[in-house]
Symmetry: C2
Subunit: 475 residues, 2 copies
């Protein structure tokens, strides 16, 4: 075979000893493709030939090729070799994942994603094996669009117990994360004639986009230390005798405001529920991290105050992983059929295996165990974040309650959010400014620190880099 690596005239700068050979080869090949030194359609040397050229094991070459095939840079056809992919798939962030286009930073403290290395792969597989071992065949057919009965039952039990939700399985609709839940509600609200939804003036930009994509206009509620200020919901006000609503619905994060980290005050909860009862408005309670409260027992769901006026929305994205795309709505009875019909019309049904597995995982106690572990781990990380900042960056102030997977770090120094995020990026640390979430109003410059995100072994360094970046010292 005349084709050897030397023929390609590519300088690989390989570190050819020790356990890093494969990683080095992978990186060198990936760089060569990205830089265009290996052009689309170019054929790579056979694994045997390259291994001989480089004096390394053939399996090492095959593994590196395999990884790059999996990433889409290379294409392999059995019997005819390996090629540089003609139209490589560029890396791209998912919506709402807060991932910019930079490829995986070395350290990542952006919010919205839990520690993915803590996903209990083994326990999940065991639960799936158990669930599949008892599932009857018909469960593998076209699934109930509301979600499998097993899962709705397990969720109803769990939500009543852990979050104080007023719920029966017939009120639960399983969805592909909160994004789909919100999209379905947007569709139903629009079909009912709704025109306007109120959102917190600082919040998830993806949620505002979804509401707009379904034809709803947005108004913003300011957020202060007591959570969202509900005055803007009613155009009239009590003094005029009756209220005329400025919004048809309101989207809130009552347990732990995202991203400001405050809790909605009890009197405001009541005022918002009263608004809903008086005007027929709908409250959407996004309880994305309600299980994670560290100072005392979690605040129960606002939904229990008025189950016929509040939609409770939960998700496995923070408690397990976003890749599951599993969330749930607990709906006022009259909305159930409309939401299910909207789900059927979009065809966005969730697969049965994940549903069966989550039902088993909840029923067997595995889900509670996972949350207990994560709560402990994240609480420690938050304590370490607060302590490190107090010691090393006294001018930075951590605000919000001791809860959830993120904290707000106010920048009292001269730097803007952009200054800090740019400086961090130069040091391999991804952080996000509060500005990314602001729809209206003014807030003190701050970073939204997702302390839950790094793997456990990377948290110490990530935290050290954050402190260094905030003090201006080279990390």
């Amino acid at each position: 075979m005349p084709e050897t690596w030397a023929n390609q005239e590519i300088d690989l700068h390989l570190e050819l000893a020790g356990p890093r050979v494969r990683a080095g080869l992978e990186t060198a090949l990936r760089d060569a493709v990205q830089a265009g030194r290996l052009r689309p359609g170019a054929r790579l040397p056979a694994t045997r030939a390259l291994a001989a050229d480089l004096g390394i094991a053939r399996n090492t070459v095959a593994d590196a090729y395999g990884q790059l095939v999996a990433e889409g840079w290379l294409t392999a056809r059995t019997g005819s070799g390996t090629w540089v992919t003609q139209h490589p798939v560029p890396a791209r962030g998912a919506p709402g994942s807060h991932q910019p286009d930079i490829t995986h930073p070395r350290y990542d403290l952006r919010p919205g994603v839990p520690d993915l290395s803590a996903f209990p792969r083994r326990a999940w597989l065991a639960a799936e094996r158990k669930a599949l071992s008892v599932a009857r065949d018909h469960v593998l057919g076209y699934p109930d669009p509301r979600g499998l009965p097993q899962l709705r039952l397990a969720l109803a039990d769990y939500l009543a117990r852990a979050r104080g939700v007023t719920v029966s399985p017939s009120r639960v609709v399983v969805c592909a994360g909160f994004a789909q839940g919100l999209a379905l509600l947007g569709q139903v609200l629009r079909a009912r004639g709704a025109t306007t939804i109120a959102t917190e003036s600082c919040g998830h930009p993806g949620h505002r986009l979804i509401a707009e994509a379904h034809g709803l206009g947005l108004i913003s509620l300011p957020v202060d230390a007591g959570g969202a200020v509900p005055d803007g919901l009613s155009a009239g006000g009590l003094s005029t005798g009756g209220r005329s609503a400025a919004a048809d619905a309101v989207l809130l994060t009552p347990a732990h405001q995202f991203p400001l980290g405050v809790t909605l005050r009890p009197q405001r909860r009541r005022a918002i529920v009263e608004w809903a009862v008086d005007t027929g408005g709908l409250v959407i309670e996004d309880d994305y991290d309600g299980e994670f409260r560290y100072d005392r027992q979690p605040v129960g769901a606002m939904q229990a105050l008025a189950p016929e006026h509040v939609v409770y929305a939960g998700t496995a994205s923070k408690s397990l992983m976003p890749g599951l795309r599993l969330g749930w709505l607990v709906l006022p009875a009259p909305l159930v059929d409309e939401v299910v019909a909207a789900k059927e019309a979009t065809g966005g049904l969730t697969g049965s295996l994940d549903q069966l597995t989550l039902a088993e995982f909840i029923s067997s106690g595995g889900y509670d165990r996972q949350i207990r572990h994560a709560r402990l781990a994240y609480r420690r990380r938050r304590d370490r974040l607060v302590a490190a900042l107090r010691l090393q960056v006294p001018h930075a102030r951590v605000t919000g309650i001791a809860a959830g997977l993120h904290a707000l770090v106010e920048l009292a120094g001269p730097d803007s959010e952009d200054d800090v995020t740019a400086r961090a990026a130069r040091h391999g640390l991804a952080v996000e400014g509060l500005g990314h979430y602001r729809a209206a109003g003014q807030y003190a410059p701050a970073l939204v620190i997702g302390y839950a995100r790094p793997p456990e072994h990377g948290f110490t360094t990530a935290l050290a880099r954050l402190c260094a970046v905030l003090t201006g010292a080279p990390p």
Copy 2:
């Protein structure tokens, strides 16, 4: 503990010996709940007490309770016992699953669902374990809305090889079965100003509903022995020099028309592609069972004739199981971003675990193996169906090509479709008449027999009952 089973004064008629103890207990309890002998809210005896009463192992009781909790009849709370569920979830058919409200018939020959007992549970779990063992953590984060790169690569390779599709991974969008794929296309077509879609005059009613739900008007193409007649697509016609399109898009099942079972003639394929090129119309090729052809090599995808004008749509619903909710579109390049944007707006993303597993299952050859097994099994069943009918019901004629998971059985006798389906239902056999699928035009009365659906051990009896029902003899 004063509470024993005897206190409940319920006669269980239990068969208390041998391996059927648990099943017997389950059935007895289920019947008691269904019949109202155990009322909603009633507390069941503790497993220990009931086991002692009945002289059986406590685990047996716990297993039976667990099964009924999973089915929704009972509710368990840790530490406080087991109760009859207050609001049991009634069984309900999924959209497009062709399931009427009758609960699981004893024998089922309705089309649209493969043999669910043949889903390779063990191989699937093994593939998932392998995929999870090598997946990097970031794969568990928010997934790429186009589908995971691994899966798009595996699908591109498979579809090029097995179905002759012209494809690169960047043209593939993973979706939750064909229903979601069609809904996304409907949304994109509507946003582009399309008003009308042509469908086959006999076809899946759920697909017509999805198109209408997205604001598209329907026109029907007649179907004859050569497949859909494309004349209706062009309002003008060639003689007038230019064509003015009557439809903006057309939805077809070219490889194996559903439900009539014919193949689209080559000259019609070409005519439809020419229509698309001339008018800018879009062809949607629903290749729901293209892998299953028994007389010769499968006909390649129509998409390859004009990849920029034809959307190829495939699914794992027939090759694996509908519960996976996994399908794929191969799109003309300009449509990719619009379809992905529509998918993001609806939030209907597919979970990563099923995607990783399918990618591994395809790459390892497991998917091909599964299809080979199923093809052989279904081919035998079709042969047996044809032979049995020829022998026992000579007036019934099987039409359509030797392919797929269903056959059309024309009723030449005096009975209407409704007569036959009603008679079959009385004998525990579910069948479906062609009328269920007819949107326009006249077709000879027929049954659409889904011979793939029963489990292997139930096929012989299902077939015998079908023959008996068709001859009018008591089965």
